[in-house]
């Protein structure tokens, strides 16, 4: 890979790119405190709240598996599929604090056969795809290190 390749998020403002402890960025309503992911700047989703602004807020890095699957066929564009295609897992993870289930790819080194509903997961970063100038990063889920563990 060329040395001029720079690492950039595949989507702006959804997650921090701190390699050691990345976290998702959500939005919070300053009026009713409800939370939203993916983040946005306008309009609280709570029908009983009339706030038209939302503020960015960090979300939990950890959660539990709601469900999971593994893609065995290359998805169509705009997905940039590896050639040859390699199956990869996708998990829906319920964040500990926020009561939000977030869908994400699972780290490349983890297969669906290693996952179970209820398993603890944590957020990591991985490469979604690369082109001549950029390596595009995306958040991924991976089995969590034990709480209080060395990691």
């Amino acid at each position: 890979m060329s040395e001029t390749v720079t690492r950039v998020p595949a989507v702006e403002g959804w997650f921090t790119t701190d390699p050691d402890a990345p976290h998702l960025i959500g939005a919070q309503c300053p009026k009713c405190s409800t939370l939203v992911f993916p983040p946005r700047e306008n309009v609280c989703p709570n029908p009983s709240c009339d706030s038209d602004t939302l503020e960015p807020t960090p979300l939990s890095r950890r959660g539990t598996v709601w469900s999971y699957t593994e893609n065995h066929y290359a998805p169509p564009p705009p997905y940039v599929a590896a050639d040859p295609f390699v199956p990869y897992a996708i998990a829906a993870v319920e964040l500990d604090e926020e009561g939000i289930v977030v869908l994400g790819q699972v780290a490349k080194h983890v297969s669906a056969s290693e996952l179970r509903v209820g398993m603890e997961m944590q957020l990591e970063l991985d490469t979604l795809y690369t082109d001549d100038e950029h390596e595009y990063l995306v958040y991924v889920w991976a089995p969590a290190a034990p709480k209080g563990g060395a990691q």
Partner: protein, 399 residues
């Protein structure tokens, strides 16, 4: 005041994969429904079209597309899009026009021509504010990925097995064997299903419905119009309810094409999940409940999703669908046959036509005309479906 609307006629073009102009299929279904009703096209006062978003401008104005194709008569039209619930929304438009007294008799029609392979976002270019574009770009989350999440959850939480899912396919393939409108008319075994290629684990190719071409149409009218036409409304199938509810905040079950659920941290989840609320809305409107049903047509986008529907429409409690399937209750001859038409399993999905096709099947079932797949003595049936962006529908048909 009765809010019944009479179903005078039902018609379909067989489902398949030919890639022809969608209006060709639609015309066959329209002519069949009109003939079944004994109503001339020139007497139709309203056309409610179900839109297709993959067939250019004519697809977005389906009401006028079919009015022009059948020959302009000055008829009033509407064009409706609601993802998989499109056909039921079109039916609801026609029903509302009839019950409001704006018209007496209407044609409801949907037709589609679908591309091969996975459904992909419609339209080109980078659309980073469109969740339907982003879910493909960032996740490769095809529709079967979402179906697989629900299927896997049934396995891990309720102990469902791949064989349970396969048994849904086996049942539906038998049901659809003699349905002249079904695309796939071949009896499948459990071995066929569990040996087919994995698409999105745990779902295999034969667990997942195909995308199809097809068309369906209904002629519906006021009870007064029906009585004048037929001399009596005895034995006429009627639309008893149409539910087109949307989710309530917070929506806590992950749905296509979303990345995430709403948060339940501040606002407590509603009493019913969205999928439960779809049929509930129809039951409330009709003043009926699951015990009143003789037959159901549910949206089996996957085999496992059919099991979810058993619970969502109240045929059994949560986590009990596998036991209900194994008991034979949902097979023709059982207590409450589900998908006697063969379901999406035998049809594949032709989006704007599918919810109308479900109502066509109930129409034939409650009038004893479902040849080769008749549920004996069927008098009341329900349909249920759900699609992208908070769309779902449930229609109750009764004699």
């Amino acid at each position: 005041m009765s809010r019944d609307v009479a179903i005078l006629g039902a018609g379909m073009h067989p489902w398949g994969k030919w890639g022809r102009d969608f209006t060709e299929y639609g015309m066959v279904a329209a002519r069949a429904a009109l003939a079944d009703a004994g109503v001339a096209w020139t007497d139709i006062q309203y056309v409610a079209g179900g839109d297709t978003i993959r067939n250019g401008y004519p697809g977005f104005v389906a009401g006028s597309t079919f009015a022009q194709k059948l020959g302009w008569t000055g008829v009033r039209v509407s064009s409706n899009y609601a993802a998989c619930a499109t056909g039921a929304h079109a039916l609801q438009q026609a029903r509302a026009q009839i019950l409001a007294g704006f018209c007496d008799v209407a044609l409801v029609i949907g037709a589609d021509t679908t591309p091969k392979g996975f459904f992909a976002p419609v339209g080109g270019g980078d659309r980073k504010a469109d969740p339907d574009w982003l879910r493909f770009h960032l996740l490769g989350a095809t529709n079967p990925v979402y179906f697989a999440l629900y299927a896997r959850r049934r396995m891990d939480v309720y102990g469902a097995t791949a064989e349970d899912f396969a048994q849904v396919k086996v049942k539906n393939s038998r049901h659809g064997l003699h349905n002249p409108y079904a695309r796939f008319r071949k009896e499948n075994t459990v071995e066929d299903v569990v040996n087919s290629p994995v698409v999105a684990d745990p779902l295999r190719l034969l667990d997942i419905c195909a995308t199809s071409d097809g068309a369906a149409a209904l002629v519906v009218s006021s009870m007064e119009f029906a009585e004048k036409l037929r001399g009596s409304t005895a034995g006429l199938p009627k639309v008893k309810a149409v539910s087109t509810v949307t989710p309530r905040y917070p929506q806590t079950v992950l749905e296509m094409p979303d990345f995430a659920t709403d948060s339940s941290a501040v606002v407590a989840p509603p009493e019913r999940t969205y999928k439960d609320s779809i049929a509930h809305g129809a039951y409330e409107e009709a003043g009926l409940g699951p015990d009143d049903l003789d037959v159901a047509e549910v949206y089996d986008l996957s085999t496992a999703l059919e099991l979810d529907w058993y619970e969502n429409i109240g045929l059994c409690g949560e986590g009990e669908a596998e036991a209900l399937l194994r008991s034979g209750a949902t097979t023709i001859g059982g207590r409450i046959p589900v998908n006697p038409s063969g379901g999406l399993s035998c049809f594949g999905e032709a989006i704007p036509a599918q919810a109308i096709a479900q109502v066509c099947e109930l129409t034939w079932q409650v009038t004893g005309r479902a040849e080769g797949r008749q549920v004996e003595g069927a008098r009341v049936g329900i349909t249920a479906n759900q699609g992208l962006f908070g769309h779902g529908s449930s229609v109750i048909v009764g004699i």
